[in-house]
Every structure is written in C-alpha cells, then in structure tokens.
Amino acid sequence: MTTAPYGAVTVEPFGDSAVMVTIPHTDQAVRRAGIVAFRDRFLANRPHGVLDVVSGLESLLIEFDPLQTALPHVEYAARLVARWAPSPSDGPAGSAGSRAVRAFAIPVVFDDEDGPDLASVAEETGLTSAEVVEAIAGSTFTIALLGAAMAPMMDGLKLPRPVRRRAEPRTDVAPGAIMIAGTNAIIQPFPGPTGWRVVGRTPHTIVDISRPDPVSFGTGDTVRFVPVSRAEAAALDAGFLLPTEESV
C-alpha cells in the first residue's frame, strides 16, 4: 500500500472513553485512503489502554479504558502515529505487523433470481445486465473494512457511475448475496435486511461461526468475482470461503 499524503490528524473527544480521528483534507479520496493507512499504523503501534477501534469511511473511532489511560495520552499517541509511524506494509516481508495479502476469486451466480437488482442497476448506469456483470467481473476489489457481522466491505467497483442504494430496503436477503452501492461491494454473511443493490449470490459460506476464526479474509485482501452458471455453482460443492493465493 502506498503511503497517503497526510501528516496531521484531527482528534476529537467522543464521550468519556473514546476519540474520533479524521484527516483534515479537502480531497475525499485522500481522507479515505489516509484513514485506512492511519488505522493500520495505529493498530500496529497500539498504545496501552486502547480497547478497540471502529472504522468509518473517513474516520476512526478509538475506544479506550479511561482507568488505564487518559484522553490526552490517546490523542498524543494518535498524533505521533500519524506523523512518524511507518506503515506496517512498508516494512520488509515478515517484519512485525506485516500481514500477507490474500487474493480471493469468488464464484458468483449473476441472474435475475439471485440478483433481483441487476436489471435496475443496468437501467441506472445505461448498460445491459450482461455489461453490468462484465464490469463487476472485471473489477478488482480491495477489502476496506469488515462491516456488520464481519461482512467484507470492498472498494473498486468499476461502473460508469456510482450506484444508488435502494429507496426501500429489502427485508430478507439471503446469505452469500453480492451487493453493490456507490463504488463499493459487500457480501451478506447472514440472512437480513439491506439497502444495498443485490446483483448475485455466491454458494460459499462467508462467515462460519463454528470455526475459531470465522472468516478467512481481512482488510487489504483482494477479491474478484467469477461469474458461474447455476449448474456450475451447484456442482462446486462450495463450503467455507478460502483464499486462492497468498502473497507477503
């Protein structure tokens, strides 16, 4: 990952035991890339007393134990990390904090039954349904964060324009559904509601709570969607999703 051009961060208190970090920059792309880079560095240099973090699109919520540390310490540590800490992915392979990037090629059935929003996305973007599928299959996604219930939220959708969310959210989307909105894609791990546009479905299990580590992916991993027919998907006997390759 290239280092985002930023040096300063804004750190604001959020209640009595959290702070919100943002990157003051006029360019949205810089703010978004910058906060991802900041998050990686901060977690690789986690200060004492920090309990967890929550990623937003352009922000990072840092939760701390107020009896183990104090707001000024967390704020100071965040500023130090932003200015000085190397990105964990800058170091030599195998150095502390570096993590292998995994690549996933995920088989997906794209049709009107598993992708009920395919036709409306085609209409909105001025393409045919087949061209929308082609564009999704031609995109290489990067996992930006893990959303609700560990759903992989990805950047990198290459369509002529960002896709709107549904005005009326769907109430019961099947697990494995491939969904898009804006320039993002996400896979639904469990049945549930969503406002995203449903375009296809993978036969793989994305999150398996019976495993010690319920997912095989993490932030920074890359994903491609491979169109398959319904018969091919059934023949796959697809189980838990695993990466196709791993590189450090």
Binding site: D16, A18, L61, A148, M150, A151
Partner: protein
C-alpha cells in the same frame, strides 16, 4: 473439580448465557455485546468468587428457576426480583448456598428494572464465539437457556458445612445500585451534534423521555421531544460508541446499546457517561429517563469511584472465601 448439572425448570422471556462481551472484535464488524448491565454481572461473579468476566445467566422478564444436582454457591443481582430457595425468600446481591435438589427461583418485575443476573461459582459449559459466551443473534449465535435443558458447571465448591437457614454467612461491602421509582437520571457528555441542532441541549435537559417497547439490546428507542438539524447535510457514516444519543430522521431519541450497529450517519448529540451505562441496560419499556449534561472529568470521577467499590468487594470476597478454605478466583482455564 466436580461437574454439576443445573436443571432449568423455568426460563424467563429472554434467558441467555452472558459475560462482559467480546474483546477486540469491533474492528472486524462484531459489536462487543455482553451483559447489558455490566455492573450487576460483574458483582454477581465476584459474589461467588468467580473472575468478573466469567459466564453467567442473564434473564429478562418472567421467572428463571433451576435445580442443581449438588450443592452450589450462587448469587442473583440486577433489577430487584423475588428470589426464593426451596420456596423460602432469599437475599439477592449476596452469596447463597443452594443445596442439591432444591429449587432456586428468580421472579422478575419489569416495572422495577429489566434484567437479573445469576452467577454460580465455577465455570459454565457453553460454546463461545470469538472468545466470548455472549450471544450474537446477528451471527446466529443465540445462547438461549431453555426450560428443560441441563446446564453443566465445573466447580470446586463442596459446601460450607452449614444448613441453609442459619444466619447469613457473609456481610460483604456490596455496591448495590438504586432502582428508584421515579425517572432515572442518566449522565451525558455532550457530543458534536449538539452544535448542529439549535436548542437541542435545552430540550433534552428539560424533557422526560419514555422507553418504548421497540427497544432492545441494540438500542433504547425513546419517546419525547427532539429537534433536527436545519440543513439536511449528509453525515458520512462513522463509528459510534455504546451510549451514543442519536437523533434519526424520525421524531425519536435512540440510545445505542452494546449490540449497536457499529457505524451510523445520524447526528449524535451526546454520549452517556460510562458510569450510567449499567442503568441504561436496566431500562425496560415504560421506564422514564431524564438526561443530565456533565463534563468528562466528573463522569470519570464517578466511574472511578464505582470501580473502587467493585475492587473492594473483590478483595473482601477473596478473603472471606479464602478463610473458608477455597481458592478464588478460579484459575483462568480459558
């Protein structure tokens, strides 16, 4: 080490295994979850000589009852409830010896508070997800304790050699919260959203809010006056802490719970002080709430004071149980 079976003879409306929640999972999209009233859960475990993060049973509504097949040491905390052992009234917020074959019953009164906690000395055998026994319904991890089931417990407790109706064995310094009848007062630290909604500070300060039946462990949905920002500028979705006071597009106020969606894009006018979160975890539908603005230092002073009381209890129970000849807390077997 003995394995004891607890036969569940009655379950409440929502009865689950619970603990203090998951650690380090919010970065991966899984909310910490855990006991809605962390203070009561912690104290219940300390009262039976467990580590504070041990698995226990959380009950909402109805009646929870169980019969152990060997003597057990247990404690009931949380909202005021009618506790009986073999039909005789027993104290909550105190260690209790329940003899083999006798039934302990805990009858809730939702008008006084939402949740009770029942801890038993030892380790309850139950599955975990990401290192915690706390349920996560969104991920299909229900952790329901059902009537007729048998819950297994590994325990070193072998009784104190006393009959059940002798005078109480312990007089411990137990920090029992107040469960008043009138509106409960929740301390709130102002947040960024307070500057984007003119007059909201005064509105919230003066109003009394009522918890609606649409509330759950994701959030309390409150009925009462709110205001909205003048401009409808879209807020970029960002992480939200437990206790955030959020004003959605509708006319309601939401206080986020431990199972909240981790990110949201609504104005957040404040965040409930950490010390007030256990009280919010006890607010059942119909409960009236008032909010009191506070600054971070005062909020943390109260939290530190509460924590000192909890630690004092931990020391006192360790000494009392040590004198009676068994080690506490149990060595961590995780």
């Amino acid at each position: 080490m003995n394995t004891v079976a607890l036969e569940i003879t009655s379950a409440g409306w929502i009865t689950t295994f619970q603990d203090l929640g998951r650690r380090d999972t919010e970065r991966r999209g899984v909310p910490t979850g855990g006991a809605a009233d962390q203070h009561s859960a912690t104290v219940a475990n300390l009262l039976v000589g467990n580590p504070r993060e041990a698995t226990l049973i959380e009950n909402l509504g109805g009646e929870l009852a169980l019969v152990p097949d060997a003597d057990v040491l247990l404690a009931v905390t949380g909202a005021p409830a009618l506790v009986t052992v073999a039909g005789c009234p027993a104290d909550s917020w105190s260690p209790l010896v329940v003899p083999a074959g006798h039934e302990v019953r805990v009858r809730s009164d939702l008008a006084r508070g939402a949740r009770t906690y029942l801890a038993v000395h030892g380790k309850l055998n139950t599955p975990t997800l990401l290192g915690s026994a706390a349920p996560d319904p969104r991920m299909g991890f229900g952790q329901t304790v059902a009537r007729g089931s048998r819950v297994l417990l590994d325990t070193e407790f072998r009784g104190f050699g006393r009959r059940p109706f002798q005078p109480a064995l312990f007089r411990l310094p137990v920090p029992v919260p107040r469960f008043d009848d009138g509106p409960w007062v929740v301390d709130v630290v102002p947040g960024h959203g307070i500057h984007t909604i003119p007059g909201i500070r005064e509105v919230i300060e003066e109003a009394t809010y009522t918890v609606t039946p649409r509330s759950d462990h994701v959030g309390l949905r409150l009925e009462g006056p709110v205001r909205h920002p003048d401009s409808d500028t879209e807020i970029v979705s960002h992480g939200v802490p437990i206790g955030a006071l959020q004003i959605p597009h509708a006319d309601e106020l939401i206080v986020l719970g431990r199972y909240r969606s981790l990110t949201a894009g609504y104005p957040i006018v404040g965040v409930a002080a950490r010390v007030s979160l256990p009280l919010l975890g006890q607010a059942a539908p119909g409960r009236r709430l008032r909010f009191r603005w506070t600054d971070r230092e005062s909020a943390l002073r109260r939290f530190a004071h509460r924590e000192a009381e909890v630690r004092a209890l931990g020391h006192a129970t360790a000494e009392a149980f040590g004198a009676l000849g068994f080690r506490v807390p149990l060595p961590d077997t995780n």
